[in-house]
Structure formats: structure tokens, C-alpha cells
Symmetry: C2
Subunit: 215 residues, 2 copies
């Protein structure tokens, strides 16, 4: 890898997808160049911060000009690892599982759903959004034969951790967890716990917070 390895701050990593989305929109609008000042205005981030963030990974800009949109977009895609293909499986063919299967915005980006699993006999063997639902008992066999990198857990809370443990043993690299509980894994495997309800609670907090009544 050719980028600077002085540990990247967590806050910077979390902003990368936002930069990526922004640059994709710029590209769609046919914009060839963008300055940190324009990005700042459009994205609501400080311009210094943007330049500093990007410089964690190398000097992609040019003084007096700014950044080339296609160049910067592809650099960030590469940093995020979006230039590769990933085989993904979905565990749990309920609501959330179905939503992911039908949600094409990431499948178009190199994340390929290669298998769907469930433990419910009523679902196993059935068709789910075009995918065959496999018996969870065949997880080990399937993963070891299909180069699965990422697994999305869409099971109830009660099953989430034990599924995660199985996935870790199978050397899946990343777990995208939608169960309403956090799962933990050993170092070397990575988890993103998506807590949908949490964002609703925060919204609810703000609606009720006394703070904004001061302004």
C-alpha cells in the first residue's frame, strides 16, 4: 500500500464515505475540479479540516487549482477499498434481510450478495427477492467454498452473537450487524454495528431537548 501509515484518526475514517458521496455527485454534475472552499460550503465541514483529512492519505490537490474531481474520487474509492469486489452473505431472511437484498445501491458498487441464510424451516428453500434461502446449517460449508468476505447479520438479537462467532471461525473479514444488539469479535475481524433505533432515539432527544429553546 502506498499511503501514509501514521495511524489515521477515527474521525477522518468516518468522514471518508461522505467525501466519496460528495465527489460522486460532483462527477455526475460534470464538475472537473473542486476546491476545499467549495467542498466546505457544500458539505458543511471546515475547509482546513477537509485539506487535512485528505492529506492523511497523500497530496491529491494542486496549489492554485484545487482537486481534480475524478482523481480525488478514485483515490478515495481506492482508500476505502471500493475498487475491489466483495462476496457478501446475508444471515436472516426477515424484514431487514429482504431490505438489503432489494437495496441495490451497494450491490452496484462491487458488493455481491452470493448467499442468503435462515434457520426458519418455512423460509429455507424459498425464494427471497430472487435469492434462494439456504439452511443456516450449511453456512460453514458454503463460506469455505465461496470466498465470502463480508456477512450481514439480520437475525434477531438472540442469535446475533453466536452467528458472529461462527463467522469469525470461518474467517469472514467483516461483519455488518443489523441486529439490535452489538456483537463483539476478535481482533482481525471487523464489525460495524448498525443501530437503527439509536438514530431515532437521538432524533427524539433533540426534539425534546431544552437547549434549542434558548436561541
Amino acid at each position: 500500500m502506498d499511503w501514509n501509515v501514521d495511524r489515521i484518526p477515527e474521525a477522518v475514517i468516518r468522514r471518508l464515505p461522505k467525501y466519496y458521496r460528495y465527489l460522486r455527485d460532483c462527477e455526475r454534475n460534470g464538475e472537473a475540479r473542486v476546491s476545499s472552499a467549495k467542498m466546505s460550503k457544500d458539505m458543511g465541514l471546515n475547509a482546513s479540516q477537509i485539506r487535512r483529512d485528505l492529506n492523511c492519505f497523500g497530496g491529491f490537490g494542486q496549489q492554485g487549482y484545487g482537486y481534480s474531481v475524478p482523481r480525488l474520487k478514485s483515490e478515495i474509492a481506492r482508500i476505502l477499498g471500493l475498487h475491489k469486489q466483495y462476496n457478501m452473505i446475508i444471515i436472516g431472511a426477515g424484514n431487514m434481510g429482504h431490505a438489503l437484498m432489494r437495496y441495490t445501491s451497494f450491490t452496484s458498487l462491487g458488493f455481491r450478495i452470493v448467499g442468503v441464510f435462515d434457520n426458519n424451516p418455512d423460509r429455507v428453500g424459498a425464494d427471497a427477492a430472487g435469492y434462494e434461502v439456504r439452511n443456516i446449517d450449511t453456512l460453514e460449508e458454503f463460506v469455505s467454498q465461496n470466498n465470502v468476505t463480508i456477512a450481514a447479520i439480520c437475525t434477531p438479537s438472540s442469535a446475533a452473537q453466536s452467528i458472529a462467532n461462527r463467522l469469525v471461525r470461518l474467517q469472514v473479514k467483516g461483519i455488518w450487524n443489523f441486529a439490535p444488539c452489538e456483537v463483539r469479535v476478535e481482533p482481525g475481524v471487523f464489525v460495524e454495528n448498525v443501530q437503527l433505533n439509536d438514530s431515532l432515539y437521538v432524533l427524539c432527544y433533540r426534539i425534546n431537548a431544552p437547549e434549542h429553546e434558548q436561541f
Copy 2:
């Protein structure tokens, strides 16, 4: 409101749902008390941080004892505003809209789905997970008559901002945005932009990041 109004740090607000979930689990397990040390161990947060966070809102603990689980849980529920009922509408009866309609873990908590809207004539009038899909043209009439506090935007990106603008005019208080773009609103209205893909990108970054190869 009886809690301390010295601006609550953003980082604290974002941790509140996590405390809430944890305490709910404790309560389910019949635990009557919990110390910051135990919370620290279970949640992976620093004990000082936990005590400091909770003290933003008042002294809920007792020296030598810790915190009463039911008391602390209900205090946090109240701080988040989860003791109230909220009427919610869903805009967009596609994948994500359906997933929300069927996702009962928040409906059981006082968030009541009172209406579902779409602009697609094939969907309008149809049944979606037990809800009648209404014509988006009737949004204004409906909202003004049904005390709607929160709206979940589950439309494509192209429609999200204009829907948000209409919701702001209708004085909806909170917008829970699932469209894969951020929407902006005037002060006094609150938005939570749920960027599902962002968490997948971050996961992808970590899988590829050179950092962990040093350990």
C-alpha cells in the same frame, strides 16, 4: 425540564441510546443495581466517562452502591424523550419503507406509524405491511390533521430534499432520513441522516487498511 442545561456534549448524546439499551438488558436479566465499573466492563467504555456522562443530567447514583437499574433506565428514557408517544409517517413504500413498517422494535416503544405515503400510482391505495399507502399529494392535509411529529424519508435521493422541505413547512419536528443523500433543514427541525452505505464503506476500509498488519 429539571435537568442541567449547560450544553450537553454531542458525544454524550450519541452514547445515551447505548446506555439505554444496556440498562434494558440489565433489567431483563433482573439486575437491580449496576456500578460504573460493571458498565465499563460490559460496554467497553471508560468508567469515568460513564459517570461523567450520567452526571450531565443529574446525580442518579449513590456512593458505595452504584446505580439502580430501573431508576437509571427510566431517567435515560425520560432524557431521550422515550416516555412520550410519537406519531410517525413513512414517505416512500419501497424496500426501506416496508422494512420500517415491519420493524416492530421501535413501534413497541411509543413510535406509532400513522401513515404511509408514496407517489407511485401502482402503490397508492394498495396495502403495505398492513398500512394503506396514501397519495403523496395528500401529505399536507394528512399531517395538518394528525399531529405528526416524526417523518421517515424512504424515497430515492432525487425526492428526498423536496419532501424534507414540505415536511419542514408542515412543522414536523424530526426527520429520519434513509435516502442515500443528506437532507438539510432549517433550525428548529432536526434530521438524522441514516447513511447505511457509509457503515459498509467504513467496514470495507478496515478490511483493507494496512494498519492492523502492524500488530
